[in-house]
């Protein structure tokens, strides 16, 4: 199978990640941070090593500021539901995933409101103006994606973060699609909360996510429970990471995530990005030469996009194309709305969604070329089918 569904989760994973998951499960599978025996301490060290690695990677001094979560959605919910109180207002971008939009919609019944600021592709000034105009006197939090998971567009998050500082608003970056591809430092870039998936550009296993807290405003967790610390106190410990990490952690997943981050750091985010954006441009260029293919958001640019290409075939639903790619050519892509209906409104693709092809560091140029050939064949196939259908109607 040729795998272009890396926007959902990267596949394959580096061998070091697979090995770490297997070895941890086989040899060090004790509960970390709970007991005092050697294997439990070894397991705790695995967790700590990943915490430290992630802290360095995301530019925070203290490993305590790194909180492990089951996924990016959980991290975003922790921030949104932990920071906002009754009467507060939030601003989000028009490219947000449902991981951001749905918690805010849910909070409406608790007296919390939000506004959506339009991201204008290719016009950062207008985008900033839109964010500025959306801010109200009771705006407490601004959540913005590092890049659209549908169209790859990158809002000017550095400037948005700086604007938040001026207005005294907390800034949360959804780095689901950018972590491991676009370098970021919570300290240098003025990010109060960074939420990332561990299993996408960081090449860790599914079931891993990270929340990096770089603010004095520490949200209360969504979950309270055992932390292996301060057990006599029925109140949740206030200090990070225990405040936001209850219950047995995903040891094997975190061991894999640690190796995933090491893999990315060793290769270099810039190098990974350069390779992937070049492949995405090759794909975009190939598709743009085919009559009947509709492309969105412009050619992926080095400073304006992440390696995500969304397209449609004129007159056909995106799911139909994805199914043909899978059934006839053994190619994996994702179709539909990609859990981001807000983003589709900007491009009028809410009804039929888009076919999304996302490369990874393991993708080869030949696979891109083959993909383009397959899309050509699908268009010919579909036009023949239309001709036959028309004939039978005439009969």
């Amino acid at each position: 199978m040729i795998y272009f569904d890396n926007g959902a989760t990267t596949f394959p994973k580096p061998q070091s990640v697979v090995r770490a998951v297997c070895d941890t499960t086989r040899f060090f599978g004790a509960n970390p941070g709970r007991s005092g025996h050697d294997m439990s301490l070894r397991a705790s060290k695995i967790i700590y090593d990943c915490r430290k690695n992630a802290a360095e990677f995301f530019g925070t001094d203290d490993p305590e500021n790194v909180v492990f979560t089951p996924n990016c959605t959980f991290a975003l919910n922790t921030v949104i539901k932990g920071v906002l109180k009754k009467g507060d207002h939030a601003v989000i971008s028009s490219l947000e995933h449902n991981a951001v939009a749905r918690p805010l919609e849910f909070l409406k019944k608790y007296g919390i409101s939000y506004s959506v600021a339009d991201v204008v592709c290719g016009d950062d000034e207008q985008t900033l103006n839109n964010f500025r105009n959306a801010i109200k006197s009771n705006t407490r939090l601004l959540v913005c994606t590092g890049a659209s998971n549908v169209f790859g567009i990158r809002p000017p998050v550095g400037r948005i973060a700086a604007m938040c500082k001026i207005y005294g608003i907390l800034f949360c970056l959804d780095a689901a699609q950018t972590a491991g591809v676009v370098p970021v430092s919570v300290k240098d870039d003025g990010i109060d909360y960074l939420c990332a998936a561990g299993h996408k550009g960081l090449y860790g296993p599914m079931g891993t996510g990270v929340l990096v807290v770089n603010s004095d405003v520490v949200p209360d967790g969504l979950v309270q429970g055992g932390t292996g610390s301060m057990s006599a106190d029925l109140n949740q410990p206030l200090a990070l990471p225990d405040r936001l990490e209850s219950g047995t952690p995903n040891l094997a997943g975190i061991a894999g995530l640690d190796e995933g981050i090491r893999f990315v750091r060793k290769r270099g985010e810039q190098r990974i990005f350069q390779k992937e954006i070049a492949l995405s441009q090759r794909l975009y260029d190939g598709l743009s030469r085919i009559d009947g293919v509709e492309l969105y958001a412009g050619r992926p640019g080095n400073n304006t996009h992440v390696p995500v290409v969304s397209f449609n075939i004129r007159g056909h639903d995106s799911e139909e194309i994805a199914a043909l790619l899978n059934d006839r050519f053994n190619i994996a892509v994702r179709a539909g709305l990609h859990c981001a209906p807000l983003a589709h409104r900007s491009f009028d693709t809410v009804q039929r969604g888009t076919v999304r092809a996302v490369v990874s560091v393991f993708t080869q140029a030949a696979q891109i070329d083959y993909f383009v050939v397959c899309i050509n064949k699908i268009i010919k196939l579909l036009s023949k089918k239309v001709a036959i259908d028309n004939k039978s109607v005439l009969k």
Partner: protein
Amino acid sequence: MENIITFASMTNAMRAKEALNKSRIYSRLIRTPARLRKGSCGYSLVVKSRFSQACGLIKELNIPYKEMIGDDAP
């Protein structure tokens, strides 16, 4: 008497142990002994030598700790 530094969380204890290691101060990570637990559980570092230096380093790095107990405790 053993020189012990107690911590509320495993992460704090791990961070302190790592900092001490870098300064070549040997320490051993243990569950906090019953007599020091005060009804709560946590982790501690047993520091064999250069205890006052170890305590100073942990304070300097602002690593949260609960107690420093030993002959040379500051």
